[in-house]
Every structure is written in C-alpha cells, then in structure tokens.
Symmetry: D2
Subunit: 310 residues, 4 copies
C-alpha cells in the first residue's frame, strides 16, 4: 500500500538497533523489519522521536534507511526529517528519498506560536524538501509545545498538496480527529490519511472517530494491527477486549524517558532485536522496572496466549 492520502493500517515507529558497544546493528534491522512485517505493518517510520534519530550522524541515518528500505521490499518506509533548519532538512530528505524512502515526516519547531507562523513553516518546509516529496505532518503538542487547531491543519493541507498524512497525537486526540473528518465531509478540506500516536493509548476510540490507522512503536505491533483491523471490521467488543488486555503494559511503555528502554527490552525478549542497547545518552531500566515489565508480560501472556514469549 502506497504512502499517500489513503494510507491506512499500522505504520510502526521503528526502533533503531544498536550493538551493546554503540555501533549500528544492521543485521538486527533486517530481523526487526521482518518482525514488523509479520506483525502486520503496512508501513514503517524510521528516525522518529523514538528512533534515537539525534544520536545518528548523516551517514548513519542514510545507511539505516537504506537497510530498512531494502528489507521492507515494497512496504513504504517514511523517515523523520525534523531538523533545526531547512538546509539540513533538505539534505536529509534528499538523501533518504534517494535511498528509497516513500516520504518523510516533519514535526514543528517548538518556537512556533501563532497560527500564521505554523502555516508559514510548513510552506517553507515543503519548498525545502521539494514539491515531489510526500510528507506526513506530526501534530504532537506534548512533545513539541506547538498547538495546531483543525483550522490550521486545514490550511496546511490545502496549501501543500504533498502533505498526504496527518499524524495526530494531540492530547486529547478524539475530538480533533472528528473535527478534521467533518471538515473533509463538508468539502472544506482535502482528504488525508490520519494516523495516530501517543503510543497507542487511545487507538481503540481513535479508529472509531475516523483515523485510518496507528503510527506508533508499541512492542506488540501485532496488537495494534489487530485492533485497527477489528475496528475496521466492525468488531468493536472484540477490539476492545484485545486492546484492554494490553493496556496495562502499553501504558507502562508509554512513560516518558524510560519508555524506549521498556520497548527495546520487550523487543529483545520477543526476538526482534539482538540487543536492547540504546546509544548514549540513554536511560537504562532499573532492576525494579525490569521486574515490573516482566510481571506485566506474565500477566499479559496469561490473558493472551499469543503474547507468550518464547
């Protein structure tokens, strides 16, 4: 399925695999890609907020993207190109598009305040990366301190034909998704794909409000793909049953600061990564936290046999 205004399903925010000594672990990129695809991913997002992007230099970023693209064999890979300026954004965007990426994702700099500043920023970003590069806009006020109203999103979508996807992780997101879909239905806004984030914490209801899928990196992407599928198939109760079984762990993984360590630990335990290592600087799991995750994993396995670890 292409990366365009009708994209749906699950775009996994891909973890970046490292060896314990800090080198990129490219073999694990293959393993992880296979894992994500087997979980039902319809796309991958590389170098996202939870992808340790700022810890990679430009050459490593390109190498990483190439490897994901090669292994994903046709499943679209989009790449976070958020940067402190338009020149490095353009460089990275061109480099990853050359490497086979299907598009890019752009978050706003935290200095933006007024509606017009935000709209102008995205026009400049689109110009910087080129009209031919489709992009997703990341709307994540908790992380970026930039608040975009539905009307501002409408203006950005209207001004920039290459904006094909909105990643909505405003908090709360539900009314915003409804508002955006109402704008579409009223003919005031072009259709875009809407995927959601926030670690999947509201994906159950977000799908019902009109989202096309999720873009997040919870260590059980299979669960996310299943919830997306079940809601799409109208199996509401079953979707919630499955989701609720995962919620205690999903919530735990969503903790700021420590969340990535939780995620990589589970991915390693599930065999998707050779090592849970993060590149420095990073926060490690304490023994207590590790035991808490183990406890949650055990409880989850008891409720959901498919979540049993080997």
């Amino acid at each position: 399925m292409a990366f365009n205004a009708h994209a749906s399903g699950l775009y996994v925010i891909a973890a970046t695999p490292f060896h314990p000594d800090g080198r990129l672990d490219l073999e694990s990129v293959d393993r992880l890609t296979d894992f994500y695809l087997s979980c039902g991913a319809t796309g991958l997002t590389v170098l996202g907020v939870m992808g340790e992007a700022p810890k990679l230099d430009a050459a490593e970023s390109t190498t990483l993207v190439q490897r994901f693209v090669q292994r994903a064999s046709g499943v679209p890979v989009i790449v976070g190109v958020t940067a402190p300026g338009f020149a490095p954004m353009r460089s990275l965007a061109r480099s990853v598009m050359d490497a086979g990426a299907a598009g890019v994702m752009i978050a706003p700099p935290s200095t933006l305040r007024t509606d017009d500043q935000i709209v102008t920023y995205y026009a400049q970003a689109r110009e910087a990366i080129g009209e031919d590069v489709p992009f997703a806009l990341q709307d994540y006020p908790l992380a970026f301190s930039v608040v975009m109203t539905p009307e501002v999103l409408r203006r950005i979508v209207t001004d920039n034909p290459s904006c094909v996807m909105l990643k909505i992780e405003d908090w709360p997101s539900l009314e915003k998704i409804s508002a955006l879909r109402r704008l579409e239905q009223a003919g005031r806004m072009r259709r875009t794909s809407i995927l959601t984030g926030n670690g999947g914490l509201f994906v159950d209801f977000e799908m019902e409000r009109g989202a096309d899928g999720a873009m997040t990196g919870y260590a059980f992407p299979d669960l996310l793909a299943e919830v997306v599928r079940l809601i799409g198939a109208g199996e509401r109760d079953k979707a919630h049953d499955r989701f609720d079984a995962h919620l205690p762990l999903l919530r735990y993984e969503q903790q700021p600061g420590i969340g990535l360590a939780v995620r990589k630990y589970i991915l390693q335990r599930r065999g998707a990564l050779a090592s849970e290592a993060q590149r420095k600087p990073s926060i490690a799991l304490s023994a207590a936290a590790r035991a808490e995750v183990d406890y949650l994993l055990a409880r989850l396995a008891a409720r959901d046999p498919r979540a049993r670890l080997v």
Copy 2:
C-alpha cells in the same frame, strides 16, 4: 488519620459542585463528601488543579472549604493555595486554616528554573503561610513545567519542617519514589508522606515503590482505595486485577482538557453530584465522548459488578 508525615491511604481531589447556572452547589458538597468517605477516603483535597479553583473568588473558596470540613467530620481536608504571589497565598491559607483545614498544598510557579530557585521558593512560601501550617508539595512537571530532582525535594523537606507530604506526579514517577525512599533509608532525608497523582495511572506500581497512597480524583475512588489497601496487604495479583479492570476508563478520564467533564459526568451518574455542571470557562462532553464513556462504563460493569451504576 491526621495530615502529617505518616498520612496514607486515599486523599480524593474533590470536585467542586456547581448548579447548572454556575452557582456553587453546597448541598452537593455534602453529598459528595459522604460519597468520598464511603469510598474509603482518608483525606480530601479541595481546590486542587481539578477542583476549578481559579473560577472561585476568595469568599466562595472559604465557603466551599468550610462546607467540606464540616461534613468530613474529622477526616482531614487540605486545600490548594497555589497563587501568583505570596500575599494572596497567605490570605487564602489563613482563611482556610481558620475554616478548619488540616493543611495546604503548594505547587510551584512555572517560572522557576534552577534548583536554588525552587528551594528558595518553598522557603518563602512556608514563611508566607506560617510555620504552623503543614503543607504538601505538588511535584507535577507536566502541568507546571518545573522539574524537581530527588535532591531538590530533599533540600525542601529538610529546610521546611512543616512540609509533611510530597504529592509525586512526575512522569515517570516510579524511579523518583524509589529514590526518595532510598534517601530516607540512608538517613539523608526526613520521613514524609508520599502520595501519587497522574489520575492514578500508575498507582498499582507506585504503591509497591513506597508510596503511602494516592491523591487523585478518579470517579471511582473506591477502586483507588481498594488498590491501595490490597497492595498494602500484599495481595498483588488481586490489586492488579482490580486495577486493570478500571484502566480503560481511568485512562479515558485522564485526558487533558476533557478529563474533568468525564469525571463529573460519572460522578453525577453515580449519584455523587446533582449536576455535572462546570463553571465557565469549561469544555463540555460531545455526544461522541459521552457515548464512549457510557460504553466504557458498561464494559466496566460487566467485569466488576460493584461498578454497576444504578
């Protein structure tokens, strides 16, 4: 149980009842107090962040506190006195202590940055309210943008004997609670009560890390009191079973902006409030949101007969 460094259990962040026309609903204060006490509250916190404090003028604040204190008949009531300056903080603190409050709670102004600024602020606040007024410190970076390390909290506790309680709702809170208890065990820090917030989203593990209880306002305070009790009694699995059943709703209620509307709607449906009205400015539940809450309530009642609404 007194409001002191050994306080434990559940301090409910009390909602503030209004009539649909915006007047204070003092009869509902009685009803709500009875409800909270029947749920197992060991204390009440009035005029907290979710208590619509900024919408009350000084006279109303005092009237409200008086009514809660009278009805709580001995259960300690503490009052949020966070203010833009020390003069209004002092006025409000004196007024509510005269009205029978057991103590106050103080959050930091968002302008504080350095460790020393934070420590100095609390010394000045303690001087403003008077040495004889016990207080809880609210550590809630997500809301206040002030980050306090365990060491800064240690300094504040050490400098201010009247600081008897820490409300820890840092995110994540788990390692912080562990760190604070380690400081105590190492003899480097006086004992304080530690209660937790964040809508109860981590209360299951926070109790195991050393918290004495919870201070939050989830519309099923009975669940919070039960989890606190079960963990205290060593019944870990049972505590998590009970907690997990509520987590889908609890998570929904914790959404910024809309959370208070969810909470008041449920409290009204549970008979604890005559009206779900908030004083303006406020955000109302959309029909879609209301239906989502109803769905979550129905699912909860199916899992937990005690959560069935009349």
Copy 3:
C-alpha cells in the same frame, strides 16, 4: 483626559511604595502621585508588572488604588487585574472600579497558544469584568510567552467594545504598531489608543510609527513625557537628543530582575519615595550596581541639567 480609545501621553506604571519593614507606605503614594503628575503624566497604571502586585493581598490592593485615585484627582488611574482565573479577576476589577479606577489592564495567561484561544480568553475576561469596564490589553510576549498577531488584536478589539487601549510591548514593536494603524486606516479595525512599554527603550520611534504615548515606569517620567510631546510636535531631532541622553540609564533600568531596584533607588534619590524598599521576595542592588547607577546619574546630570538630583 479620559481613559478611552483616544487616550494619549504618558501613563506611568506606578511603583508601589513600602516602608523598610514591608508595610505599604501610603504617605509615599501621595508623594509619588504628585511627582508623577508634575512630570507630565496623563494617567497612572497601578498594580502593573513592575508594581509588585502579587505581593499585595486583596485588601491592600484596594487600599493602594483608592489612595492613588484620591491623590490623582481626576487623572485616570487604571489597574492591572491579571489573575489566575476569572473569579479573582472579576473580584479585583469590581473592587478597584468601586475605588474609583478609570479602567483595568489585562495580560494573557502564559498557557494560551492558538489564535482562537487568545481571542476567546479576552471575550471571557470582558464578560467576567463586565461590559462597562473599559480595559487595556497588554501585549508583552517576552514576559507572558503569548504571541498575538495584528490580526488577533484586530479580532479582540472588534469583539470587545470595552477594549479601548493596546499596550504594545512586543519585541520588536515598531512594525506591529505600523500594522495596527494600517488596519485602522483601511477601516478594518476600530480606533484604539496604543501606548508602548518595554521600559521606553523604543519610545522615540514608536511615537513616529503611530503610538499615542508610553506606558512605562522609567524613573525619569519627565523625559518620557517630553519625548512624547516633542515627537507629537514634530521636533524629531530634539526628541532624539533628549532621549539619547537618557538611553544609557534607561537601558540599565530595563534589566530584568534588578530593574525595579534600580527604579526605586532613583525614585528615592529624586525624592519621590521615602524608601527604595521592595516587599519580599526581592532582589537588592549590590554595591557595584549602586555605584554604576550613580555613575550613570552623574553622567546624565552633566548632559541634562534638569536631570540633576538635589
């Protein structure tokens, strides 16, 4: 001259006089008022950012305003009523209007982000204080972290007939003043008074861009009044000559944190205050800073005999 959409000249941000022991010094209120009027003030602003407002409780605030109003004998006094909620804002606004204030001034809370949030806030504030209370809007992003475009200001002015004055201390302010006056000239915006702040640092050019005057508290209000008058009279070079002579000191006084101490020290040396005392918490002048101010005062007196201290 009334406080309305045609107000002009100099509104002095009044200092709040204290005795060294922290009590309000009401005698100095009289002395200070006389001083300001003799300097050419056309209005006074009490309880502004530099008026130590948060250090006064409600009763003191009213007492202070009453005293200024009585002594100003007809010169309009407006009062800062910025508050953490609309209830205390309403209380204070009513109390000071009863005490004879001509109007109030309202700054935005730092939590506002989107254009609509800002516009909505001022509609709610106007409703809270009452349609009959004329108000000035304070546009000061450096202090409040809220950025208002000319278009947002236009919407607020249009929505709220009682908004009669804009205090523009955006940074930079010059293009903004021009933009607002263009909106007026194009018939898109009702006429309002525009006064400027930022300690007067750009008053020379702000007047030429269309401001009606200044609202700030530099310890030589006579200089500000003179510059306003000279620019109005078309005496550009003379205005700049006068202004430039003061700029080294004016700049020194505008330092954040320490600025109020500089201002009160000079006011005390000029005989306008019995004491330079601030109420705690406050930052005192170091010996080095005091010597620097003395040096600047001496240099100023050498250039401008009227600035000579007794």
Copy 4:
C-alpha cells in the same frame, strides 16, 4: 592570540554572506574577514545564532568555515556546533576542526531544566566532540530558556578541562560576571575567559565587572573593540562617551527578528558585504525601518566622524 582560558578582546559573531539568489558569497567572506580584522577583532565566531547556521547544510558549513579560517590567517576562528543531538554535533565539530577552527561553541538545548541535567549535558557534549577540542559555553537564557547559576557554571568548568570560555549573555549579566570572578578568586573555580554578548548592550559595565571582552556582531565592531580597549586601559569616561554615542543604533540593531537585517544592511553600507541578503526564511527591513536606520546612522556620524559612511 590563542583561543584559550586567557582569550580576550573582541570575538566578532561573523555574519554569513549570501548572494541575492541565496548562494553563499565566498568572496564576501574574505572581504568581511578583512573588515573584522581591521576593526580590531581578536577572534571570529562563525555559525553563531546570528550567523544563519541552520540555513546551511553540512557541506556549506565546512566550506564557509574553511574560507574564514584561511583569510583570518592565524586569528582564531571558533564555530557554533549546537545541534539537536551529539552525533551531528560530533560530525560538525570534527569537520570544522579539520578545516582549521580553533575551537567550538556549544549552547544548551531548551529542554534542560535541572542543574544536574545541564551539568550532564556538557559532560556528554565534551565526550562527543572529543577532549582535545576546546570549547566555549554559551549562556543565553533569553534565547535558549536554560538558566545556569554560577555554581552550575563552576561545575561545568571543573568537570571539563576543555571548556575554556564562557559566553555570558544572561540578562542581567553583571552580577553573574562578578559572581564567577569571585569564585575564581576564592580558588573554587578554574580561570576561564569570559566574553559577553547581548549585542553589546552592557559591554561598558561588563568589562568593569571582569569580562575579558565581547563576543557579538554589532555592525560597528570597531566601537566594541575600542570600548574593550579603553576600559582595559582605565579610560572609563572616554569608553562610555564612545559607547553612548553608539547606543541608539546598537539598541536598534538588537531587536529580535529584525536585528540581523539591520546588521547586514549596515555592513553592506560600510562595504563589508556585497549584499545585505539573508538566505530564506528571513525578515526584510521595511522602508520605515530602513529610514530609521539611516536616521540613526546620520546622527551617529554627526557625533562620531569615524562612523561616517562613504
């Protein structure tokens, strides 16, 4: 004079020259370097906040630095390497050191809050760039929202032997400079060079408080060099006379947003740049602003014949 803990004088924040079509203007780099050296610069800072660094990609950054280094023929060039992560910081630092830079400058990311976070950040940054790369720390809370106490600076200087310079542009800076020098005199802190910023707005007094010089880009660097020299020579009155003559323009140039346009316009009028062009996105001078600058230049020339433009 080397870039080390005894560096003094004037480090000019170099403008980045562009052609009107947005290409780097390398010929103007030579011209500008000659101009800065003729003005008395003892060092250059390339890719600073006012150097349009985020508009250059990695290759351009290196090319620019090389050209400045070659032309400066021995005068030390330091380079801003502030980056969103340690990997791009390391890449840029190595690249510019290979190109002949004498050292780098590092500003803190705006997410840092606690004292420990700041100290840890600089330890990680030093490790990232390598122990052998001397660096300046930029302390500029107004721009970066990070507040560093003298004690935090002392810890950073102590932990990182390669930190040889503090660029202090806190606001106010005067007491901070005094506090840092007192720490040195008390033997609690290693000697570092202290240069000051803020567009030079307080350089007159900062020198007297113990600064070694200025690091800023005011379009009359000759004035800054002269003030630094005169204060060093004990000619206080003369230094202030010279400084005060420039203050009206210097203040005008320091306006956020528009400041760089003012600076480049003057540099172009002084013959130091072929074009005043900024690379997009940029803010242009309005006709009114241009006229104001011309007026200030004319007034300056009348007071100071050396400031006369050709």
